[in-house]
């Protein structure tokens, strides 16, 4: 992985994903390792994303690295009309690694091509967010002890949710069963079903969020966003249908864990938060270890 950019989850092989999981566990066991001492990481956030940025910057600080950069494009030279290419060319002369968040899709691939140092994509529009996927995978591994043969339920916006699509692609390497629960308007796109068919992976589609979750090992919840609906009445109809409540967890498996990329709105009722099966806050914490692992691997320090 040394010197390699991470733009899309498909840039990493199964072996590389497993290596990141293993490294993340190492960092969790021993979080203060000065591997990035003397290194400079550029953190370029062309749009604000507090959660992702703080997670990366915490990971860099824990590894004793230095951070330079900006937190939204209004404080960068983009406002003076500088192209992404020029910004990347300049920044890659200053730093050992670039972490970039950008609203335009494909910007991370382009940045990686222009940069002399590796680029980690921290989200390029609706396209990819591979570090989120890797932290999801680490969370699944940590809670289940394996990535193989799991029954994964994905709930909510399966049409536009990039975390869902990337997770589906990555977990497909580990012989899962998928269950998709979504309203008609937000069903999983055909291209992903074709992909699963081609790999011989079993999946089931449901429109009702009911006691079928008793089969689940992982329940991955996502936000159903109002702006995704052309008809506001349709949104009103479904907004309270895909809500997880504590009472729904009574007959679920002991090993079930509930994941959510956060931020949540109302799709997980707060009465779930105290249930030991609720895992979303720990999941966010896992993000720091996963990002430490990714940076250390890409810089060839581990």
């Amino acid at each position: 992985m040394k010197g390699k950019s991470l733009v899309s989850i498909s840039d990493f092989s199964k072996e590389e994903i497993l290596e990141i999981v293993k490294l993340a566990a190492d960092f969790e066991a021993n979080p203060s390792q000065s591997l990035l001492k003397g290194k400079v990481v550029s953190s370029l956030f062309f749009e604000p994303s507090t959660r992702t940025r703080l997670s990366f910057e915490t990971a860099i600080n824990r590894l004793s690295g230095s951070v330079v950069g900006f937190t939204d494009s209004s404080s960068s030279s983009t406002t003076k009309g500088e192209t992404l290419k020029d910004t990347i060319k300049m920044v890659s002369n200053y730093s050992d690694l670039i972490v970039m968040r950008h609203p335009l899709e494909g910007s991370a691939r382009y940045a990686a091509e222009q940069s002399d140092v590796p680029v980690i994509n921290a989200g390029d529009g609706a396209n990819q967010h591979p570090t989120q996927t890797l932290l999801d995978i680490y969370s699944i591994y940590k809670t289940q002890g394996t990535l193989e043969d799991l029954n994964i339920f994905l709930v909510g916006d399966l049409k536009y949710g990039r975390t869902v699509h990337s997770l589906l692609m990555a977990m497909s390497m580990f012989n899962p069963i998928f269950n998709f629960i979504a309203p008609e308007e937000l069903k999983i796109p055909d291209e992903y079903k074709l992909f699963l068919d081609s790999k011989g992976i079993r999946y089931f589609e449901h429109s009702e969020f009911t006691d079928i979750i008793s089969e689940a090992d992982i329940l991955y919840m996502t936000r159903v966003q109002r702006e995704r609906f052309s008809d506001p009445i349709e949104y009103e109809k479904v907004k309270n249908v895909y809500v997880l409540r504590n009472s729904m967890l009574d007959n679920t498996k002991d090993n079930l864990r509930i994941l959510h990329p956060l931020p949540r709105v109302n799709e997980i009722h707060t009465d779930v938060d105290d249930n030991p099966k609720a895992y979303y806050f720990t999941q966010a914490q896992n993000g720091v270890y996963t990002r430490m692992a990714i940076m250390a691997a890409i810089l060839g320090l581990k």
Partner: protein, 151 residues
Amino acid sequence: MSKRKLKVSAIKNGTVIDHIPANYLFKVISILGLDKIPNQITFGNNLESHKLIHKAIIKVSDKFFEDKEINKIALIAPAAKLNIIRDYEVVEKKVVNVLEEVIGIVKCFNPMCITNNEQITTKFTVVSKKEIALKCHYCEKITSEEHLTII
């Protein structure tokens, strides 16, 4: 009775590109860079055709295309036929094939793609040739035949 007459006069040596859809004549010229070469070029547009309602034809003197070069037009002129001419005789006939990769010809359909917002040469992999479907190298979105725009 008047004699049947060629609407575009014959060439001694070179390549005839026939069966180009009439609306794409100038795109083909541009994709092949024919507007930038010193060779003699004659062309006809909106000619009657058996295969197309209106076709265009281009005759380029002293030019013989590499397959890689000519296949660039397959996206917009899949029915194009090439006649290679030597000393006024057709010595070879060729058809065009869609490439595996399309570079700098097609616009990405996704308005949020970086290639539509900054000066970048577009790049696609061809994921389907029958019904043209191109996957953007940058934003990873599919541009299908109905949304295909030639730059």
